[in-house]
């Protein structure tokens, strides 16, 4: 009996044993496969459509290195060339300004000389004619102002528009003259009162006036020349002269000096901002009473793009209103 039961148990594994489960799995997976076989296969070539393997995949690593090397070799000279060009472009404007500033330095001395020796003005005027021949453009402009006035009268005969231009030029000349007159009393006074005084005792104010006058004269002369040119070519000088403020002729050059100045301003503004912010944080209510300071602080915060602080200001202001 025991042998028979053992044989039976060997054929049919007990319930819940591993062998039964193994059988169950085998059977069920077979059923599953049958069920899946009903579903059609994808059309031939739909699943497996492989192109030829690309060359890029099979390229060795050194070829990429080589390509990179070639690119760098081609790009480096261009880069250096561009760099050199930009450096040259940067250097060029400061040279021009340096020359200009040197000329400016010379001019006040001329003014001082005029102030110190007013009697020499005529002598210089005579000499200017000689310098024109030597090729000094500034002196030439001064000397040719008389000639310009003659030319303008001819232009006035030519057409009414040009006549208008001439009148405006005359007005301009008059204004220049008035400035000269405004300067002269000081010069006269200085010449009369300070003739016996030593140079050290003289006050610096007249010197500044004379500098300003000389600059103004120069500006006026230049504007005269421009007016002449416009009057001849377009005849619309009257309109342009009638404009209250002329556009600035000088172009802001971003040289090292201006950059340093900007940096300085930036630093000082930052310091101011920090100072104002500290004050604000100490007592926002008290700070807000001063509208100017408040406005300045907000402007500085905007300038430095401090959004977090602006947000904090809003919070603090709200708190204030809540209380």
């Amino acid at each position: 009996l025991t042998g028979i039961t053992l044989a039976r148990s060997a054929r049919t594994p007990p319930r819940g044993s591993d062998d039964r489960f193994e059988e169950f799995l085998k059977k069920q997976f077979a059923v599953l496969k049958d069920e899946l076989s009903v579903y059609p296969l994808p059309a031939k070539g739909r699943v497996l459509e492989f192109g030829k393997p690309s060359r890029a995949k099979t390229l060795p690593a050194w070829s990429y290195g080589l390509a990179a090397g070639v690119l760098i070799a081609a790009a480096l000279p261009i880069f250096f060339q561009l760099n050199q060009k930009t450096a040259e472009a940067r250097q060029a404007p400061p040279q021009a300004t340096a020359a200009q500033s040197a000329a400016d330095i010379d001019r006040p001395n001329e003014g001082a000389n005029q102030q110190a020796k007013p009697n020499e003005q005529n002598f210089e005027g005579q000499e200017s004619e000689k310098e024109v021949k030597q090729g000094n453009p500034r002196k030439f402009a001064a000397a040719s102002s008389n000639k310009n006035s003659d030319e303008s009268s001819k232009a006035a005969d030519a057409s009414p528009k040009l006549a208008a231009a001439a009148t405006t030029r005359d007005q301009h000349a008059e204004s220049t003259e008035s400035v000269r007159n405004a300067v002269r009393p000081d010069e006269k006074k200085d010449a009369m009162g300070g003739a016996n005084r030593p140079m050290k005792d003289r006050s610096p104010a007249p010197t500044v006036n004379s500098q300003a006058a000389s600059r103004f004269e120069r500006a006026a002369e230049e504007s005269d020349r421009v007016a002449d040119a416009k009057g001849i070519t377009t005849g619309a000088v009257a309109d342009s002269e009638a404009m209250p403020a002329a556009a600035p002729r000088s172009i802001a050059i971003d040289d090292n000096l201006t950059r340093a100045k900007k940096k300085e301003i930036n630093v000082s503004e930052r310091q101011e901002l920090e100072k104002l912010w500290k004050e604000y944080e100490r007592d926002p209510q008290q700070f807000n009473k001063n509208a100017k300071r408040r406005a300045r602080l907000t402007a500085l915060l905007d300038q430095f793009k401090m959004r977090s602080r602006v947000a904090r200001m809003r919070v603090l202001d709200k708190k204030k209103t809540a209380y």
Partner: protein
């Protein structure tokens, strides 16, 4: 020399596909059993073969190419299932958004492509899919692909003993998973 190497590589790749091509049907069935969607199964087979092609150089000839591709396909299907689970979670969130009036594109696979299986097979495959990355390949290779333990060991790069012990663990886990689904006692015979 380099040209020769390239030629060898190209011919090797071409050979690989020509060798794998006869097993395409089996691979498709394996993917379909796991994903229950025709288009997903197609995609899975194609992507698994592309993966296999890319990593053909790392293939060790200890196992047959087919078993190696089977392993890649099972893992790829597992990844796809995980992604779909995440997508479903997102869609739940998307439904909430849609209810609020936001338009959410429908990224679900078309229901027409889903396959119908018997209840038992459905439960079985659900339980198998629940097994996880460690045990699922073992069960599928053993019972779906009828692979021997040695073949499984070489495909998964494991020792024979490890494969056997893991298979026991997998089976007991699968039993428990089926019991959770009400397949117990009488069903098992």
């Amino acid at each position: 020399m380099k040209l020769h190497f390239l030629m060898v590589l190209v011919t090797a790749t071409a050979d690989f596909f020509s060798r794998i091509n006869p097993y395409r049907e089996r691979l498709f069935r394996l993917a379909l059993a796991q994903l229950h969607n025709l288009s997903d199964a197609e995609d899975a087979v194609q992507e698994a073969l592309i993966k296999a092609d890319r990593s053909a150089q790392s293939f060790r000839s200890e196992s047959s190419e087919y078993t190696w591709v089977v392993r890649i396909l099972i893992n790829h299907c597992h990844d796809m299932q995980r992604k779909s689970t995440r997508r479903q979670k997102r869609e739940v969130a998307g439904d909430v958004l849609e209810a609020r009036g936001t338009m959410v594109p429908d990224s679900r696979p078309s229901a027409e492509q889903n396959i119908e299986l018997s209840e038992m097979s459905q439960h079985l495959m659900e339980a198998v899919n629940d097994l996880g990355e460690a045990y699922k390949p073992l069960i599928l290779m053993r019972y779906f692909e009828d692979m021997a333990y040695e073949e499984i060991a070489s495909a998964l790069q494991l020792n024979l003993g490890t494969v056997k012990s893991r298979m026991n663990q997998a089976k007991s886990l699968l039993k428990a998973k089926l019991a959770e689904r009400g397949i117990d006692g009488d069903y098992l015979g």
